[in-house]
């Protein structure tokens, strides 16, 4: 019987990790003293420069993704293969995921600009770092899960042959991770676009420096009221996303099927939902062309690698000893570095917090309550339309076939790209900042719910649906007895991700500067932004609002979402 309980040890662990996190944050903020000497950089809007801006955005994404890919493989393998690492690395992901990445951007900018000796490169590095943090965690978790679910027999089969190290990685661990890596890469790119555009929209510090890219292009165009440029910018973004899907993700998903363990041909399997079926001929053609260019040299390299004897022949003892030495070296470096960072961060934390607190600090509790109310309203609106949609999709396969790809394409458009439009629309017409804020949060929440619900619907076994029909259950009874319980775990997962997305959206949705006028409502996001980008530029206030926000996120996760999730997966899991 699942129990709804609060574990005290978990709470202590949680508080300790929160303090560690606060110290790390403070460490980043300690670099604020290095004033930003960036030349104010206004993005000149000209349609001709659009390709350049698109390229800027794309290479930032690509750089971040490549780092995230390498990181997630190493991290996931370490966590999946060693119980010791697992105990530290998996909870660490949990904590890292609860940091609203957008709120962390200014801190990252200060840190990297200081690192790059005040050059503009620092801002680029901060953006890449930020996108990386939005991409890496779910990919690392994917690799970890893949490693953990490798069938025991496959592992033993390689062990009996004495396969170790590189061979084991190449033949077993990496291939087994491919399906989850590809799936999570797609999600990571969606998340990455969202944060990339957010980074480009945000102006950095008093210097009001904006990264050149699609985000800043769109915002400038909106401020200047050039609707042609807005449309061109949005279309370019859409084109990049659709092209990526057709040329990269669709073929990769098909290819990844090869690496799945299920042998039996599953009937009615959830096929990858292609965007734009009408264009489906183009994708394969482009892919074929790319393959014929790229594959032969790759294959030759692969052959050459295969032909090489697999390294110097070490005895098991020698390789074990070598492995131990390498591991100790890496581990001690990490431990020393982490200890140093924590110690310095702790000092910085105390130093910052011991400064006089600004009067605004008293507003934090009220701001948190108001922000949470906005989030709840946005969540309620999301639920109100996604649940009926999902139920309708479960009743009507044709609707499902239309809804899924449409939702996929709309959902993979970064909502932040639409921010300028929404802001203009709501502010110019209604002047209601509260409404704008809720709408913006909604854009960061709703798709996660819809996707998870649709995935849940598609996983309800046909047998069960047939059984429900065969026993003559009415439509409402079918929903109550079968569909809703079966999608409950997906609903909870979707809600957790939606709230995560919402907190991020919150930061860019309660405060913005439009045509030299600052629009804001009272909320924790606005307090954070005002402290960061406003005239006060108050370090204590930035840290306080960011930390209280993280504390709320962590508390909600621990006290509400985690227990709910455990309850849902235990009671409503479909593994009969």
């Amino acid at each position: 019987m699942p129990r709804f309980e609060i574990n005290t040890r978990r709470l202590i662990n949680g508080s300790l990790s929160f303090i560690a996190l606060a110290a790390i944050m403070a460490l980043f903020f300690a670099y604020r003293s290095h004033a930003l000497h960036l030349i104010p950089h206004k993005v000149p809007v000209s349609t001709a420069q659009l390709p350049y801006y698109a390229f800027c955005s794309f290479y930032r994404m690509l750089a971040a993704y490549i780092i995230a890919l390498i990181f997630s493989i190493i991290y996931g393998m370490a966590a999946g293969r060693s119980r010791h690492y697992e105990r530290i690395l998996i909870p660490a992901i949990d904590i890292a995921q609860s940091v609203p990445v957008v709120g962390f951007f200014p801190a990252a900018v200060y840190f990297f600009v200081a690192l790059a000796h005040g050059s503009r490169l620092g801002v680029e590095m901060a953006a890449v770092f930020l996108i990386f943090t939005s991409q890496a965690w779910n990919m690392a978790l994917g690799v970890y899960e893949a490693i953990k679910t490798i069938p025991e027999d496959s592992r033993v089969a390689l062990d009996t042959f004495g396969a170790r190290g590189w061979l084991k990685f190449k033949r077993l661990l990496l291939p087994a991770s491919v399906p989850k890596l590809v799936y999570n890469s797609i999600l990571s790119w969606v998340a990455g676009w969202y944060f990339l555009i957010a980074c480009e929209i945000i102006t950095v510090g008093p210097a009001s420096y904006r990264l050149p890219g699609l985000g800043s292009f769109l915002w400038e165009a909106a401020e200047k009221g050039r609707s042609f440029d807005i449309a061109a910018g949005l279309l370019t973004l859409l084109a990049i996303i659709v092209l990526m899907d057709m040329v990269v993700w669709q073929p990769l998903s098909t290819w990844a099927e090869k690496f799945k363990y299920e042998f039996a041909a599953s009937s009615g399997a959830v096929q990858s939902l292609g965007m734009f079926d009408a264009l489906s001929g183009v994708g394969p053609a482009v892919t074929r062309a790319l393959r014929s260019i790229l594959l032969p040299p790759l294959r030759m390299i692969g052959r050459a690698l295969d032909a090489l004897p697999s390294g110097p022949q070490l005895t098991p003892e020698q390789s074990k000893r070598l492995g131990a030495i390498v591991r100790t070296l890496i581990l001690s470096t990490i431990v020393i570095f982490t200890t140093w960072a924590l110690a310095r961060g702790f000092v910085a934390l105390i130093r910052t917090l011991s400064q006089p607190w600004p009067a605004d600090a008293k507003q934090i509790p009220e701001a948190i309550v108001l922000s949470t109310i906005r989030m709840t309203i946005a969540y309620a609106i999301s639920l109100a339309w996604t649940v009926p949609c999902a139920l309708a999709a479960s009743e009507n396969p044709r609707f499902n076939r239309i809804l899924s790809p449409v939702a996929e394409i709309v959902g993979s458009m970064p909502a932040t790209a639409l921010f300028p439009l929404i802001v203009i629309f709501v502010i110019e017409i209604t002047g209601g900042m509260n409404l704008a804020s809720i709408l913006l949060i909604l854009t960061g929440m709703q798709w996660y719910l819809l996707f998870n619900l649709l995935a849940g619907i598609n996983q309800v076994p046909e047998d069960l649906k047939e059984a429900a029909r065969a026993f003559g259950l009415s439509r409402v009874a079918r929903w109550r007895k079968l569909i809703l319980p079966a999608v409950t775990p997906s609903l909870i997962t979707g809600s957790i991700t939606a709230w995560g997305g919402g907190w991020n959206a919150l930061i860019v949705s309660e405060y913005f500067v439009y045509k030299n006028h600052t629009y804001q409502v009272l909320g924790i996001g606005a307090l954070l932004d005002a402290a960061t980008y406003g005239k006060s530029n108050n370090g204590v206030m930035i840290l306080l609002s960011l930390l209280s926000m993280i504390a709320v996120v962590l508390l909600l996760n621990r006290l509400m979402w985690r227990p709910l999730y455990n309850l849902a997966t235990e009671r409503y899991r479909l593994d009969y």
């Binding site: 069938p151 089969a157 390689l158 009996t160 042959f161 004495g162 690496f259 042998f263």
Partner: protein, 252 residues
């Protein structure tokens, strides 16, 4: 000195409440060239015992001597055939078979040559480039067999190798296994077969170790003296089947 000696092997797992003893004081010898079957009800720890002999699973106490020496860790002169086949779905038949050779660090040309010899031997000629998911259960197990044989092990370890196959396929594969074992150019002389199918053990093995459950232990060591090929419809075969069956049933 026996080829393989098991001395007082015990195995227990730590549980949250106390320990679970899986194997208790198991001792027997296997002679050079012997085909031994380990038979017992499910849960008697026979698969665990096989993995202990192979060195994949550590024992709690006891000793396994291989040619008089104690082997630390995995015994690379053993090769395992699995009930689940345990083929890697992303590798072709050929690449799956080459796996053990790759681990030995053999050059590509040598690997390919040897793999093709054993793929022919198990009758999969022409399927080198196929993927496991394209093969029937029987063919998958042929790949599993080729993968084990290609490293030319001294002992072939088989863990319920025919239990996941349909009855007719299993009959064919048993016959082929005997042919392979008896053919003079095959280096494998020792086979240890774990099975819960009594007739399978009697049909194939020189000796049957009968195990009982709770905790797993040896209750009888039976020499099968019937001449090969063994016909299931003879009286001697049936008498032996009944004998083993009642041994298992008594203690079950």
């Amino acid at each position: 000195m026996a080829f393989l000696e098991l001395k007082h092997i015990s195995k227990s797992f730590a549980l949250s409440k106390g320990t679970l003893q899986v194997l208790n004081d198991i001792s027997f010898d296997v002679g050079e060239g012997e085909f031994v079957a380990i038979v017992g009800p499910s849960g008697c720890g026979k698969s665990t015992l096989l993995r202990i002999i192979n060195g994949i699973v550590p024992m709690t106490s006891g000793q396994v001597l291989y040619r008089g020496r104690q082997v630390d860790g995995i015994n690379l002169e053993c090769a395992l055939v699995f009930q689940s086949f345990a083929l890697l779905p992303w590798l072709s038949v050929k690449a799956n078979v080459e796996l053990g050779l790759e681990a030995q660090g053999l050059p590509l040309a040598e690997r390919e040559k040897r793999a093709s010899v054993y793929i022919d031997k198990v009758g999969l000629d022409g399927f080198e480039e196929a993927y496991p998911r394209e093969l029937s259960g029987g063919m998958k197990q042929r790949v599993g067999l080729a993968r084990a044989l290609v490293v030319e092990p001294k002992v072939l370890m088989m863990d319920e190798p025919f239990s996941a196959l349909d009855a007719l396929t299993a009959i064919t594969l048993r016959e082929e296994l005997l042919d392979i074992w008896q053919s003079p150019d095959m280096p494998v002389k020792n086979i240890i077969l774990v099975t819960h199918i009594i007739e399978e053990a009697i049909e194939l093995a020189d000796r049957i170790i009968v195990m009982a459950t709770g905790p797993g232990r040896v209750v009888k060591d039976i020499k099968v003296e019937l001449p090969r090929p063994r016909d299931r419809r003879t009286e001697a075969f049936n008498t032996l089947t009944d004998q083993v069956f009642s041994l298992i049933e008594e203690r079950g």
